[in-house]
């Protein structure tokens, strides 16, 4: 009788890969259900926090580009309609993924906002915080670091190790991209095995943004397009992490991923 350990060991050498099998059946999905085109039932919605003061939306087009990338590369069905929400919006809990970005200082969260966001983050929501300033010690960064203890009493931002699920939720990310390489890694607040708040200092949104003609609005320095590419990889991974949590930390994935990472 095969043991569970052996079974999972052998799974990595399983008979078919998704790619191999699915290529052979490509196109079926569009014909299922009597050939009808069925609108996706629950698309991923990118919700952005519209806080008071400062500049809550320095890169308005960044999210759409990220969502295109998510749609193009993964099975996640996305809604390209960005949702903007106040931190205390009544329907905040209909959007478990929140994006908060800025380069300037902004008004501290009110007590009500802190309470709502704390609940949001403690019960399964995820917030990606993007520092759009492109330099260390920005007013936005100071504000964020002041607000973190209010949202997570007794906790501070910690560097996320590269074996964190966010770095392997879809791509095996080894470098944190962004418009500027301010920090080589991400920071975050982790509760048990879940990181509800991820903080990036490298301005991911700036790296994602294009103009209406399809040109990149911001140059990525110093790594250029490779660095931009890494920004998208990380963005896709954050979305994937929000939707799958520590799926890629399940035992079944570990030997496979370790082998790829060498």
């Amino acid at each position: 009788m095969i043991t569970r350990r052996r079974f999972f060991g052998q799974l990595t050498w399983g008979l078919g890969s998704i790619g191999a099998w699915s290529l052979a059946h490509a196109g079926l999905r569009s014909e299922m259900g009597d050939g009808r085109q069925q609108e996706a039932s629950s698309p991923f919605i990118f919700a952005q926090v519209h806080y008071r003061g400062g500049d809550w939306d320095p890169h308005p087009g960044g999210s759409v580009e990220l969502l295109r990338e998510v749609d193009r590369r993964t099975s996640i069905v996305v809604s390209f309609q960005r949702q903007t929400l106040r931190p205390d919006a009544p329907d905040l809990f209909s959007y478990p993924f929140l994006y908060l970005t800025g380069a300037l200082d902004f008004a501290p969260f009110t007590e009500e906002e802190v309470g709502t966001l704390r609940r949001f983050l403690n019960f399964g929501g995820l917030m990606l915080v993007n520092d759009a300033s492109g330099y260390r010690g920005s007013p936005f960064e100071r504000r964020i670091r002041e607000e973190i203890p209010r949202l997570f009493p007794g906790q501070t931002l910690e560097r996320l190790p590269f074996d964190h699920a966010v770095f392997r939720s879809y791509y095996l990310v080894r470098t944190v991209g962004g418009r500027r390489l301010v920090s080589p890694t991400l920071e975050g607040v982790t509760i048990d095995d879940w990181t509800p708040l991820i903080y990036c200092q490298n301005d991911l949104g700036g790296a994602w943004e294009r103009d209406h003609l399809g040109n990149w609005l911001q140059e990525c320095l110093p790594g250029g397009e490779t660095q931009r590419f890494q920004s998208f990889m990380l963005g896709v991974n954050v979305v994937m992490y929000a939707l799958t949590e520590n799926y890629k930390k399940d035992k079944i994935h570990i030997p496979f991923i370790n082998r790829k990472l060498g």
Binding site: S22, A26, K260
Partner: protein, 755 residues
């Protein structure tokens, strides 16, 4: 009462003058004597002075002596016999053979006491108090000893000795004479208990340890419960007396069927051997097991060659396989809920990339792993308890053949759940497949597909009672909770519940009301659930926003898993007994709780209760309703030893509601039936601990009473039964002596010319 008398002479001063008066008189007489010496030395020769003074001194001394009233006592004494407690073991083990062929151990003791006249002999020196003891202690007369029977259900030596000693706490007790085989089946070990005893214990061991022959299943060490598919070890201890060199078989049986055997080599006359059986339970449930060894030639005790026990087999964890069609909030919050349940072992596969998704990096930069469909759905499916398709369409990933495997998995007792979405139910291509057979809803292709509209779920009457959706102890509270649940933003429309399905929730709003949203069904031995939406997560996260907590969602998911995998606590028919083990002859009280398919109490259920003993004989028991709706009770008598299996099946009309199994153990009413080897060593230690002595019955000879006296009779007590007193001053001779002394003095004085 023996009459042991003797006489003795004693001298005493009885009722004389007080010492001070005697002293005063002595001073006066002394002064007078001094004056007399002074006077005589002037008038008479020295020899006259000495002689007269000497005579006067003797006379005065006698007077003083008589004033003290010297008395001679002649006493007749009678010995007071000290009580000696004689304790005779009358437990069941005393029925076993004694040293002499054809006699029991009790007869051996009786012969010693009665025919051997030990009671008579001891009765001369001691006040004999005779007791029988086993589980309890009781006084008997000497005449009763010959008629004692060995029917005590246990031997509590320590308690018996303590009781007797307590009875004589105010009276001296010479000692205790214990006649027993030394087997202790109840209470403390007497060697410990009697360490501080104030009286010596003399023990006479009956039975012959050297000739005792027996093989005994001494102990079975098995876990209270085992896990299905996991090897469980059962350690068996066997003790043997007198079968040196033999190899005996040992058999482990489950429900009377041999599942393992082992041979034991008995490499000594008295050996303790251990062996370990390993078994791997295949199914969840309660099982009746036994360990047996055949009765050997010459075995003195046959009842201890077999021992029953029961094993409850559980799941170590509920193994859940979730296959998700794409990353989604529904998966994400379902995963969190399942991961928060420590009894769930979750394996999940999510389709992270479809063939239409363009890969822009080499494969070694992707964390994707193969989806091992072949192995999962052909070989390993039965290792899971619950399979969940979460908005997953099989069409791109495996052939329909695997769906038939899933159907068989459910038919054989597995659980299956399907969550809705644009790749699920008919939209996932499951219409007309084996999956449709097992789902609680029919899959009809319709023009509606997935409806994007807010809709609230309304519980059906069945949903108010069902373990999955009953989120509070009562229906009112459950209804209130569901009223507060957020609306879903879409659902799979146009599915109809099957007639045999139980619909728990339907759409509540507007024109789209009363469409099924949640339904369950029994298929074969398994259970299935259909939730026709991929918006379940809103009952978690949106409720956190509205009410501050998600425990209703977590409860529902946990209960859903447990109900689907038929956790015992959620079984519709549940059988309970008031105890796990009963003594032979005790009354067994059974209680049966029966729920209908909608999990409301089923007071009208018809029960079939079957009780079967280890020999395979069975009988039907009548269960009667109690005052509690849906609850029944039955009583029976524990008539057969071993593990008794009770099976109950409940029907309501032609509807089979469920069944349950319970096993209880019937143990011998007497622990004596398991122990037969005389334990003279215990008696020896007991005697040594109390400054007594141990004898085997064979060592008790004609001089035993004398030996016992030497051991016990340290300070005999007597009482004076007659006394005669001779007061010396009242005798004529006393008067004559004084007259003679004074007369002699007078003669001398005359001769000396002093008178």
């Amino acid at each position: 009462m023996p009459e042991l008398t003797s006489t003795q002479l004693k001298f005493a001063f009885a009722n004389g003058l007080p010492l001070w008066q005697l002293g005063l008189i002595g001073l006066l007489l002394g002064a007078y004597l001094g004056y007399q010496i002074w006077y005589l030395r002037q008038k008479a020769a020295t020899w006259v002075t000495l002689l007269v003074t000497g005579l006067r001194l003797v006379a005065f001394a006698l007077i003083i002596l008589f004033l003290t009233n010297p008395t001679v006592l002649l006493q007749t004494l009678q010995k007071i016999p000290i009580p000696l407690a004689v304790l005779i073991d009358t437990s069941e083990s005393m029925r076993l053979p004694g040293t002499v062929a054809g006699t029991t151990r009790l007869q051996q003791a009786q012969d010693l006491l009665v025919k051997g006249r030990l009671l008579d002999t001891l009765g001369r020196d001691f006040d004999l108090r005779v007791y029988r003891f086993d589980e309890y202690t009781g006084a008997v007369t000497r005449d009763d000893v010959a008629g004692l029977t060995a029917d005590g259900r246990a031997t509590n030596v320590a308690q018996s000795l303590s009781d007797v000693q307590q009875e004589y706490r105010d009276t001296p007790l010479a000692g205790m004479l214990v006649l027993s085989d030394g087997i202790v089946t109840a209470g403390e070990m007497p060697t410990e208990e009697m360490r501080y005893a104030s009286v010596p214990i003399v023990a006479i061991g009956v039975g012959d340890p050297e000739r005792y022959r027996d093989i005994k299943i001494a102990a079975i060490e098995a876990p209270n419960f085992a896990f299905v598919h996991h090897p469980t070890e059962i350690e068996v201890t066997v003790k043997s007396w007198g079968y040196h060199g033999q190899v005996i078989p040992l058999v482990l049986k489950q429900e009377g069927r041999i599942i393992s055997t082992s041979n034991l080599h008995l490499d000594g006359d008295r050996v303790t051997k251990r062996t370990t059986f390993s078994m791997t339970p295949k199914e969840v449930g309660r099982y009746r097991l036994s360990v047996e060894t055949p009765v050997q030639v010459g075995e003195m005790l046959r009842t201890n060659n077999h021992q029953d026990f029961q094993l409850q087999v559980r799941r170590d964890k509920i193994r859940v396989l979730v296959v998700s069609g794409r990353p989604s909030w529904n998966y994400r919050f379902l995963r969190r809920a399942l991961k928060s349940d420590p009894s769930v072992d979750l394996i999940s596969f999510i389709i992270l990339r479809t063939p239409t998704d363009v890969v822009n990096v080499p494969d070694d930069q992707l964390s994707l792993i193969p989806f091992p469909t072949n192995r999962l759905f052909t070989e390993e499916l039965r290792n899971f308890d619950l399979l969940v398709f979460d908005n997953f369409s099989y069409l791109m990933y495996f052939p329909m053949l695997y769906l038939e495997n899933i159907r068989k998995f459910v038919a054989d007792g597995g659980a299956f759940a399907m969550f809705g979405g644009d790749q699920s139910f008919d939209l996932g291509g499951f219409a007309g497949t084996p999956i449709e057979d097992i789902l609680p809803v029919t899959l009809e292709r319709s023009r509606y597909g997935y409806v994007h509209a807010p809709v609230k779920m309304e519980l059906t009457p069945e949903g108010l009672q069902h373990p999955i959706t009953r989120l509070a102890p009562n229906a009112e509270e459950t209804q209130r909770i569901w009223d507060e649940m957020p609306a879903l933003r879409g659902f799979n429309r146009a599915q109809r519940p099957k007639p045999e399905a139980v619909t728990l929730g339907v759409t509540a709003d507007g024109q789209l009301s009363q469409l099924p949203l949640m339904a369950t069904m029994q298929y074969g031995e398994g259970r299935t659930l259909a939730f026709l939406s991929d918006q379940l997560w809103r009952w978690n996260f949106e409720l956190v926003g509205a009410k501050g907590g998600n425990h209703h969602y977590l409860n529902m998911v946990h209960q859903m898993v447990r109900w689907l995998v038929k956790e015992p606590g959620l079984r519709p028919v549940q059988l309970f007994s008031d105890k796990d083990a009963y003594q032979l002859g005790e009354t067994v009280a059974l209680r049966i709780r029966v729920l209908d398919h909608d999990f409301s109490p089923a007071p009208g259920a018809v029960l079939n209760v079957k009780v079967s003993d280890p020999q395979g004989q069975s009988l039907q028991v009548n269960a009667v309703p109690t005052d509690e709706p849906g609850e029944f009770q039955a009583t029976l008598t524990a008539e057969h030893l071993g593990a008794i299996r009770v099976e109950v099946a409940a029907h309501l009309g032609d509807k089979h509601l469920g069944e349950d199994v319970l096993i209880y153990e019937v143990i011998p009413s007497s622990a004596e039936s398991m122990m037969g080897a005389p334990d003279h060593e215990m008696l020896r230690q007991l005697a040594a601990a109390t400054d007594g002595r141990f004898f085997t019955a064979a060592e008790v000879g004609g001089d035993f009473a004398t030996v016992l006296r030497d051991i016990l009779q340290r300070d005999l007590q007597y009482k004076v039964v007659e006394e005669r007193a001779l007061h010396l001053r009242h005798t004529p001779s006393a008067f004559l002596i004084l007259v003679a002394l004074f007369g002699a003095e007078w003669v001398i004085r005359r001769r000396a010319g002093l008178a």
